[in-house]
Symmetry: C2
Subunit: 342 residues, 2 copies
């Protein structure tokens, strides 16, 4: 029986497996430090489409196809999709996944959506509601700039705290048997408002939510930082990382030794002009798929806490002078010992 742990967590009795995953990214991501690890790098960010939104949809479609293919599954084998993106009314998802004709639960958790999708997908498989589900997210630099910062002011200087929205989509097939990694627990985030109002400093806006989530995870499971080989946030960047370490330390835990951030890993700050790091739903999803998950699958990492973070703003809320609250969703992923295949 799956157990409710503490106030915000679940521990799965029969942990759902991650059967396969796939990452599809744009040109700049392909030129970054993880470039060779992604499944597909597009030489233009258009992915053969006419608009940025359609390009993002196409990335989702490709990521889903690749992930299903790797697991030797067809669309009709997938019972539910849990997916979302950053665009208003999540159109990248609706239009990208429509043709698969798979029952879809549309999600919005800003850049934390990958954690939300993996959480709900795992809950669904663990309860026996589905044999296979697909958890999927995306972001696209150009569609996000248009969504959040239109008109794009090319002449503007980007402050050092700014992040660069990753053009990428990551897809994960979850199932009840057979994978090399499994989701053993989740910690679900609350929205946390520290009064940040600077939309060019998303790291600072999300770090308090990440800190709260990580500390809550420790408490709910009776663990300390040492119980995780890595604690991996989504897109706090260099600026957010510093704040995170301090906030978690204030609660009595030191995660500076084993914390990593997908936004820091995906770009080379020195040569790529990405300032604080990468961001977007696609940042954590593609970095998990291409970089961290293989290390869990081969046993290099035994147990990680994956914590995608999200900033809950819109152009409207920002222009109306609202704060930028943050959220985070924690997913515990562990190496699964492989039984001999038949």
């Amino acid at each position: 029986m799956t157990q409710q742990m503490g106030s915000q967590s679940l521990q799965f009795a029969e942990a759902p497996f991650i059967l396969s995953s796939a990452s599809v990214v744009g040109k700049k991501e392909g030129e970054g430090p993880l470039g060779k690890s992604f499944d597909m790098v597009c030489s233009s960010d258009k992915f053969g489409e006419d608009s940025w939104e359609e390009s993002e949809s196409t990335m989702q479609k490709e990521a889903a196809a690749l992930a299903m293919g790797k697991a030797s599954l067809k669309p009709e084998d997938i019972r539910y999709i849990f997916a979302g993106d950053l665009l208003g009314q999540t159109i990248a998802t609706s239009f990208g996944l429509m043709n698969y004709e798979i029952p879809l639960f549309g999600l919005y958790g800003a850049c934390s959506t990958c954690g939300e999708a993996l959480s709900l997908g795992a809950m669904c498989v663990a309860a026996g509601y589905a044999d296979h589900v697909l958890a999927l997210t995306s972001s696209h630099f150009a569609s996000a700039e248009k969504q959040f910062r239109f008109p794009v002011e090319y002449a503007n200087q980007r402050p050092l705290s700014a992040t660069w929205t990753v053009t990428g989509s990551g897809a994960f097939v979850l199932g009840n048997s057979g994978g090399k990694s499994k989701i053993t627990g989740i910690t679900t985030g609350v929205i946390t408002d520290y009064g940040i109002r600077d939309s060019m400093n998303m790291g600072a806006a999300m770090a308090p939510a990440a800190a709260k989530l990580i500390v809550q995870n420790f408490k709910d499971f009776g663990r300390t930082p040492k119980d995780y080989d890595k604690i991996i946030t989504g897109d706090l960047g260099y600026v957010g990382q510093e704040i995170l370490w301090k906030l978690v330390k204030d609660e009595g835990y030191d995660i500076s030794g084993n914390h990593m951030d997908c936004g820091i890993e995906i770009f080379d700050q020195k040569t790529q002009g990405t300032q604080s790091g990468g961001s977007g739903c696609g940042c954590s999803a593609t970095t998990l798929s291409a970089h961290f998950l293989p290390q869990v699958e081969d046993g290099t990492l035994k147990r990680i806490l994956f914590v995608p973070t999200g900033a809950m703003l819109s152009q409207v809320s920002f222009n109306e002078g609202q704060n930028v609250p943050g959220t985070a969703h924690g997913v515990i992923i562990e190496h699964a010992c492989q039984k001999a295949e038949a």
Copy 2:
């Protein structure tokens, strides 16, 4: 054990109960045929706030408070919220529910979100992941007009196929024991594109998705229209209803005798100038809470199929010439025989 039924449905072995619900609406809804049934009617649509988005957030906050109060529960008794709204980046939800500090799964299913929230909430309770969850949605006429049709062209004539976005929020507390109604099954929708491009005819855009969902529900559960006292769609309106009946009839089922639509019920077409009917996440949520659920609770209706419908468009996708695909989520709600209270 909960059973996977057919290709898109679940039947809950231990059906989660709807312990309580609440509806909060604006002035026009209060003047409509269901006016006296809503829990709270605001004399202005501002709900004491400065912006339309904050007004919508406040509606959500009030609906949540009322629903929890009716179930004699406090925020700390609720393990998860499943919620969403129509605004870009679902800001009505993020800002509205933030202060409750309850783990939140943010959803986007356009006007079908009430069905999506009830489905995921029911799945969560039925699996033992939570003792109590809150499922909640909202829409607001003014924030929706600003989101989808800005600048609002007051001098425009509204075509007869246009719907009027309901200003309202409906909240539902689900739990594992004690309610007068229960969710016995769900049918989850796929996105369906019939090539509709008229954003002033949402009923036509959503009717095919509703038809597909309803027919799939019949097939998955081996049922016919007669097995439901009422089949209640969210916001197809008069125009969409006609299309729905025809499409379902083409599949061999006649639902004209027991179909109702929340968008038709909530306004008086003749006196309120609402053309085809009401629409929005708040339409189905408040009408279910105020009008239909009480009839299930007192046994007047033994079993209903509740099918909120959504149009998956954004201002961007529409302006880029995309079609308006639809979706729908089906929730089977049945009268629960009350045991004598201790």
